[in-house]
């Protein structure tokens, strides 16, 4: 492989199941040393792409390569330096956690030098690892599967929805582990349907929708473009014209609550609200992925950017996102 060659590359990758087109000409180039997010709603084609990369399914046309090796024709070499997150419900139920980790390390033919670090970060103790997997909760299985995928510190990690089933605290620990693995030179390709997760973890992102890549850019570019929803609660009647001062659109007014749609950053919102003493509460949320597609890519019918009213429903993250910035 060339020194600067992409770790993962796909060329016009197509997968059809009968008359259904799951992937419709995917072109991806994942550079070395990045955490690369693969973002899309459920059913967009994320898992199909990953299954093609893993050689689980054969492309209808086009090709996928890992480290320069064709994923279907030369799968053993393509997977030689790769860690893959096996779905949590696809683990041997009658194995203990310890036995599974040992088994998967043996099949990888690499020493599990990161195992202990991962077990500590993901809070998996020996008391848990000695038990059979049939007694594990979904979250515990997910932690074990993550440890198994990453324990050998492979140069490439392919993770399909890695934080699915993890509680928020463990998610943060996992993100720190990912950052550390990346610092050590690994490339991480992770799929997600959670925009917030991708924003927190990834350097670069490809967005897939209906089997096609609709955007591919850095996280900073993504952040600049998509809208945020701000729910501002005032102690009294919301001031008139506040949306103009902030440079936002009003989605809804409900008593003391104003729901705003912000484009770009949140700096002007924070600046305006900081000057007031009647702000009772502030909640920032990210739009849903569909809203990103509709608003950010102007995919609505009349060509105008719109944020659907139901996108104001609170979503898990956000105030933390403000604090971080």
């Amino acid at each position: 492989m060339q020194p600067n060659a992409p770790v993962i590359s796909t060329t016009n990758l197509v997968k059809r199941y009968g008359s259904v087109t799951a992937l419709d000409g995917i072109d991806l180039n994942v550079p070395q040393g990045l955490i690369y997010g693969f973002l899309g709603p459920n059913g967009a084609g994320k898992t199909t792409t990953i299954r093609l990369l893993m050689g689980f399914i054969r492309p209808t046309s086009g090709s996928a390569h890992i480290h320069g090796h064709d994923c279907w024709r030369d799968g053993v070499r393509a997977r030689a330096d790769l860690g893959y997150l096996v779905p949590a419900d696809a683990l041997y139920p009658n194995m203990t956690g310890n036995a599974l980790l040992e088994y998967m390390a043996t099949l990888s033919a690499r020493p599990p030098r990161l195992r202990q670090t991962l077990l500590e970060a993901l809070e998996l103790g020996q008391d848990v690892l000695k038990r059979q997997l049939s007694t594990y909760s979904k979250g515990m299985k997910q932690k074990l599967a993550l440890t198994a995928a990453m324990q050998t510190a492979p140069p490439l990690l392919v993770l399909d929805e890695p934080t699915d089933g993890l509680d928020p605290l463990v998610q943060r620990s996992f993100e720190q582990v990912l950052a550390e693995v990346r610092r050590q030179g690994s490339t991480i390709f992770m799929s997600s349907h959670d925009l917030a997760e991708v924003e927190r973890s990834c350097d670069r992102v490809a967005i897939i929708r209906d089997g096609r890549i609709v955007a591919e850019e850095t996280i900073n570019e993504l952040r600049k473009k998509h809208r945020r929803i701000a729910e501002v609660t005032f102690t009294g009647t919301p001031p008139a014209g506040i949306e103009v001062a902030i440079g936002a659109e009003i989605i809804r007014r409900d008593g003391n609550l104003v729901v705003l749609s912000l484009e770009g950053g949140v700096a002007s919102l924070v600046r305006v609200l900081a000057q007031r003493d009647d702000v009772a509460d502030l909640l920032l949320t990210l739009p849903s992925l569909e809203d990103v597609f509709l608003g950010y890519y102007n995919l609505n019918r009349n060509g105008r950017t719109e944020i659907a009213p139901d996108s104001t429903a609170p979503r898990p993250h956000t105030t933390a996102g403000v604090a971080r910035r």
């Binding site: 050689g55 088994y103 043996t106």
Partner: protein, 273 residues
Amino acid sequence: MKPFARMTARVLRSGLPGLIALLVGIAFFEFVQPLVIASFGGASGLDAIMSRIPPALQVFVRARPEFLAMSGLAGYLSLGFTHPLYIVLAGAAVVGFAARTLAGEMDRGIIQIPLARPVSRQSVYLSRALGAVIVCTLLALSGPVGMIAGMLYARPNGALEFQNFGAVALAGFSLFFAFGGITLCGSAAANTAGRVVGWSLGILILSYFIDYFAGVWRLLESITFLSLFNYYDPTRALVDGHVDPNNLIFLIAVGVVTALLGMVIFIRRDLPA
């Protein structure tokens, strides 16, 4: 341990309690045969009983008096290796193993564990095939071992060459191997273990009854060559220690060809979602 050996050990361990139960069941079933024969007064006592049974019923116990009179104790004991219960127990073990280790693992997604590693599909398949060969060997040995134990315990009246049990085991292995190959092939092509078990046991039972009823229904005589049981003769194996090489080659060939076909299918197919 090398990945291939680890995978083989893994597939054998995954269904070990069930396999042990079936092996013990088969051994116990064959252990009982000499005890039953001894309770009738040995081979000579059974000769007298068999001579009074109508010919049509003799077919159902797969024994004709003239043959049994000539083959003696070995002939009566060999009925334990053609008995439907023995066939069902052994068939369940080999079909269950071959169905569970490929189609079952694909159905549950477990097959991704080895296939996500730098392990070829051939290796994954061959580890299952080796597991099936080991299961067939254990099945083929468990019956004779149980019967030898029963012989030593009951000591029924009549002559028997103990070394002929080796030929019985060989005949049994070839039959189980053929069904194992067929099931592996189906398992490689299917997405669920249940469907493979259904089809494979269906073939086994159909094959058994074509051979079984051919003795009383002339229409079936012309198609007995289609039954794998047509190539399985434990009676002759136990009576004179002989296994027809043609039968042996045919059954082994069926197992090898179908298993190889299964490997080709498994290498080329998409794994189920």
